[in-house]
């Protein structure tokens, strides 16, 4: 079958909705709209998409459209990445509008349509994405009530609304009018300024409740439109050509020679070059896959990297920019007066985003704008970067977001987007690019390795009196592999070598009342390390792994139960709240850690820890089994608690918590980017191991709901606690501390062997 004969994608007109609306609407008023050729929402949206955004942030019309059938489209600037944020944001909008969940839907992000709310990152969708939407929806309701008052001949104050139907209070629906009748696809033409009254949390009907995710029915039917699904007429398939596995950041990979004849036997396959960028295109996808593998290229790459076990020593010796992140009292002096001091050095690995879907994008150069369907977490930033790579004005580029898979931070989505843009521009045809598994794992912007030195002191009564944390890591990239190569420029990192990530002071002891505490971040320049960037809960697993094991050691020193010890030292009722919630769920039995070590080959242990990212509060309890013969750790049960202020949808947060805790098990026990002098060697699921079914724990998530506190992030705040709780459980089971993760069988056996000798 010819591509040109393919039916257009369901979502190719940009009218794809992420809602049950489409499912429920079969017999409703929208039939009229379909009979006319297109649903009214799609018509209104076509008008919206006519020119490059971003639209006016203060205009209510930027955020909402009310349709004649009494439904609403909500335009958010935060994208669905599987976390269910569209459901949560729809709850917020429907709540303020007094509409039902079945009446609201949202569209995917589009730089010609949706507002610029920056990246969907740092678990900020509800925290920073919801307030503007709430304010716009409240202003919209005010306007609709004013119009209804005129329509019904009463004061707006005497009106009430249910499911978008406005009626006069006390009349049992005798006089009523719908939002759809009042506005019906016409613009509001009003701006919001935050003064329209918003609902009191005590009046919430939807927020704080558990409507089901709107995206799941289509996902389990294989019908959900992911970015990988798009095909357009005349389209070519593209693949990037890169060495298997990156070497040191900076130089990138330069093609010294490209032998185009090496793919002459593959029908229609062509090489595309721009600067140092090399790609291939073909009409059939399999031919592009084969051509990328067959193309003979001689590469010049960066310096040898050493290996993944020597990187920590190198970081600690490197010339670093040092920043004191927290500094109170006299930790050094008090350390000498402490009854007990405990401390150690720690080594934490590079880890990969390893998105389950290799990144993919489709660029179409055949219209007035270069239109790119992309799985980016930030459509406006992607637009800017593509424009820079191609030397185009930003307005000439339109980015339409479609989900790929969970991406967990800055995986290769900018690379796929830019590669598609380059190949489409060079060929003049639409090009769909998908990364191969080895491209994705070998050229990721990895979560950086981390080395730490922690020391803390406790007095005889069990008060932490001194705490010191020194952490070493390198910076993050701002550019991408593809943009660097296309422009033949060295990669750029943030903050000129000082490192864009510093040690997180919240994750390193801030939850305890410690009068003498110093946290120092040592930032190495990224040159000749691996390319780094934000990976879910950036470095918080590393910080918690080092810090919370040290806290546990202090509890052991004073022979206290680790929960009682933490309770005594915690300085904040919200930290206390999550700790209590987690230990209650786990039915924690007080004991001194490691004091009841079992004999036999398989020994069990329990551990507890606190941790978070930048906001919210997390606590976890882990139950594990350690096989002393094989070194295999199996996490049996996890109990986690999170306080993220007002939880809009507890079911979504519970789902997020389960995902975080299971991913933390994977990261603390299995995940490690490996490399040698020739580059990264963990290029598939057997060399980059992740948690599988046989090893997944039973997880109990507990949401600590605080309806009067602002909503804060929920996508990464219980990961550090989980990782550290597992490490503490290992000590409880074996009496041995693990100072390096992932806690692989090899490292476990080595640690246990050391114990037997001493």
């Amino acid at each position: 079958m010819d591509d040109a004969m393919l039916p257009p994608d369901r979502a190719a007109d940009g009218a794809a909705t992420l809602s049950r609306r489409g499912l429920l609407k079969g017999g409703g008023a929208m039939i009229v709209g379909f009979a006319l050729g297109a649903p009214t929402g799609a018509l209104a949206q076509a008008a919206r998409g006519a020119k490059a955004g971003p639209p006016d942030h203060q205009a209510v019309d930027t955020w909402l459209a009310i349709h004649a059938d009494n439904t609403a489209t909500v335009y958010t600037g935060k994208c669905e990445l599987g976390q269910g944020n569209q459901t949560g944001l729809l709850q917020v909008a429907a709540e303020e509008l007094d509409m039902g969940m079945h009446q609201v839907s949202t569209i995917r992000l589009d730089t010609n349509i949706t507002p610029d709310q920056q990246a969907t990152s740092s678990s900020s969708s509800i925290h920073r994405g919801a307030p503007a939407l709430r304010a716009a929806a409240a202003r919209a309701r005010m306007e609709l009530l004013a119009r209804a008052g005129v329509h019904l001949g009463v004061q707006p104050g005497s009106l009430e609304v249910r499911d978008g139907v406005v009626s006069v209070r006390g009349e049992n629906g005798f006089r009523k009018v719908t939002y759809g009748q009042l506005l019906g696809d016409k613009p509001f033409n009003v701006k919001y300024d935050g003064t329209a009254p918003v609902k009191a949390p005590s009046d919430y009907r939807l927020v704080g409740h558990r409507p089901a995710r709107v995206d799941i029915p289509d996902k389990v039917a294989g019908k959900y439109t992911l970015v990988q699904h798009h095909r357009v007429p005349g389209m070519l398939h593209g693949r990037v050509v890169l060495p298997r596995g990156q070497r040191g950041f900076g130089v990138g990979a330069k093609p010294v020679s490209v032998d185009e004849a090496s793919i002459a036997h593959i029908k229609g396959a062509k090489v595309i070059r721009k600067g140092d960028f090399v790609g291939v295109v073909a009409e059939r996808e399999w031919d592009a896959v084969k051509a990328a593998a067959a193309l003979k290229v001689v590469w010049r790459q960066g310096e040898p990297l050493g290996d993944h076990n020597s990187v920590h020593a190198r970081l600690r010796k490197d010339k670093t920019v040092d920043t004191v992140i927290a500094n109170v009292g006299d930790p050094l002096g008090m350390m000498q007066k402490a009854a007990f001091v405990r401390g150690s050095s720690y080594q934490c690995p590079y880890q990969s985003h390893a998105p389950f879907a290799p990144n993919c994008a489709l660029a179409d150069p055949t219209g007035e704008q270069l239109v790119i369907k992309s799985p980016t977490q930030d459509v406006y930033s992607s637009r800017k970067q593509v424009a820079e790579v191609l030397g185009l004005p930003e307005q000439k580029v339109r980015i339409q977001f479609f989900e790929g898979s969970g991406t967990f931070g800055r995986s290769c989505y900018e690379d796929a987007t830019q590669a598609a843009a380059i190949m489409a521009t060079e060929t003049g045809k639409p090009v769909r690019v998908q990364f191969m598994r080895w491209d994705e794992l070998g050229w990721d912007n990895y979560g950086p390795a981390h080395a730490a030195e922690v020391r803390a002191g406790v007095n005889a009564e069990g008060d932490i009196v001194a705490y010191e944390y020194d952490g070493w890591q390198h910076g993050w990239t701002v550019t991408s592999t593809v943009s660097d190569s296309a422009r033949t420029k060295a990669g750029v990192e943030r903050a000129n070598g000082s490192g864009s990530i510093t040690v997180n002071p919240i994750s390193t002891g801030s939850m305890y009342k410690i009068a003498n505490r110093r946290v120092t971040s040592h930032g190495a320049p990224m040159v000749n390390y691996l390319r780094g960037a934000a990976l879910r809960s950036p470095l918080d697993l590393s910080f918690a792994f080092a810090s919370e094991q040290t806290i546990d050691e202090l509890a052991v020193a004073v022979k206290m139960d680790p929960v009682a010890f933490r309770r005594r030292n915690i300085g904040d009722e919200r930290w206390l709240g999550v700790l209590d919630a987690a230990v209650k769920a786990a039915d924690w039995k007080p004991k001194v850690m490691g004091s009841q070590a079992e004999s036999g080959d398989v020994v069990r242990g329990r551990g507890v820890a606190l941790g978070t990212h930048h906001v919210s509060y997390g606590a976890a309890v882990a139950e594990i089994e350690v096989n002393r013969k094989t070194g295999v750790i199996v996490t049996k049960k996890l109990y986690g608690a999170m306080d993220c202020g007002l939880t809009v949808n507890p079911a979504l947060v519970e789902n997020q918590m389960v995902g975080q805790m299971i991913q933390s098990v994977s990261r603390v026990l299995k995940e490690e980017v490996t490399f040698d002098d020739n580059g990264v060697t963990s290029l598939d699921w057997s060399t980059y191991q992740v948690l599988r079914f046989a090893e997944h724990p039973e997880v109990t998530p507990v949401v600590v709901q605080r309806i009067n506190e602002p909503s804060t992030g929920a996508g990464e705040e219980v990961m550090g606690a989980t990782a550290a709780a597992i490490a503490n459980a290992f000590f409880d089971a074996t009496g041995v501390r693990m100072r390096q993760f992932p806690m692989t069988p090899e490292r476990v056996l080595k640690a246990l062997e050391g114990q037997q000798r001493t």
Binding site: G82, G84, G222, K267, D287, A357, Q434, W685, R692, F693
Partner: protein, 153 residues
């Protein structure tokens, strides 16, 4: 050019490819526009591309088109959002998906497994799904969904 006739979701489908080694996955997605099966690794390590052929869960990324004989069922042929298969209904009930990219493999592997195993334990389900990867951490819900589907039969 080589021509093959596949039996997919109860219908005969003729396709033409350049290379008899072209994996079934690419033919399903590009020629037949059945995008339920997905590319995850191309190495048979993750399960994203799973389809059912004559009752067996098969990795379509490793199945050359020239050997794709038998009755092929893709997730689109299993059920629809309006009329889901028992396994799909159980996945919705348990909200057993996050990003949804592994869901095809989970649903198809589970469906093939439950056709043969009438009252499996949680441990049986884990074994059946041992070669499927999920990156979002939905394992627990997937196991619950599989058990729910088994008991619904």
């Amino acid at each position: 050019m080589a021509r093959y006739v596949l039996e997919v979701n109860g219908q005969a489908k003729a396709v033409e490819v350049h290379d008899p080694q072209e994996p079934l996955l690419y033919v399903l997605r590009n020629d037949l526009r059945l995008t339920g099966a997905k590319y995850g690794c191309g190495l048979g390590q993750c399960g994203a591309c799973t389809v059912i052929i004559d009752g067996e869960a098969v990795r379509s990324c490793l199945t050359p088109i020239s050997s794709a004989k038998g009755k092929i069922t893709t997730i689109e042929g299993l059920g629809t959002p309006q009329k889901p298969h028992a396994v799909q209904a159980a996945f919705i009930e348990e909200q057993a998906a996050q990003c949804g990219y592994c869901t095809n493999g989970m649903v198809m592997t589970t469906a093939a497994f439950l056709d043969k195993s009438k009252s499996p334990s949680a441990s049986d389900v884990r074994d059946a799904l041992a070669a499927n990867v999920c990156r979002c951490g939905t394992h627990d819900r997937v196991v619950k969904a599989a058990l729910r589907a088994a008991s619904a039969k």
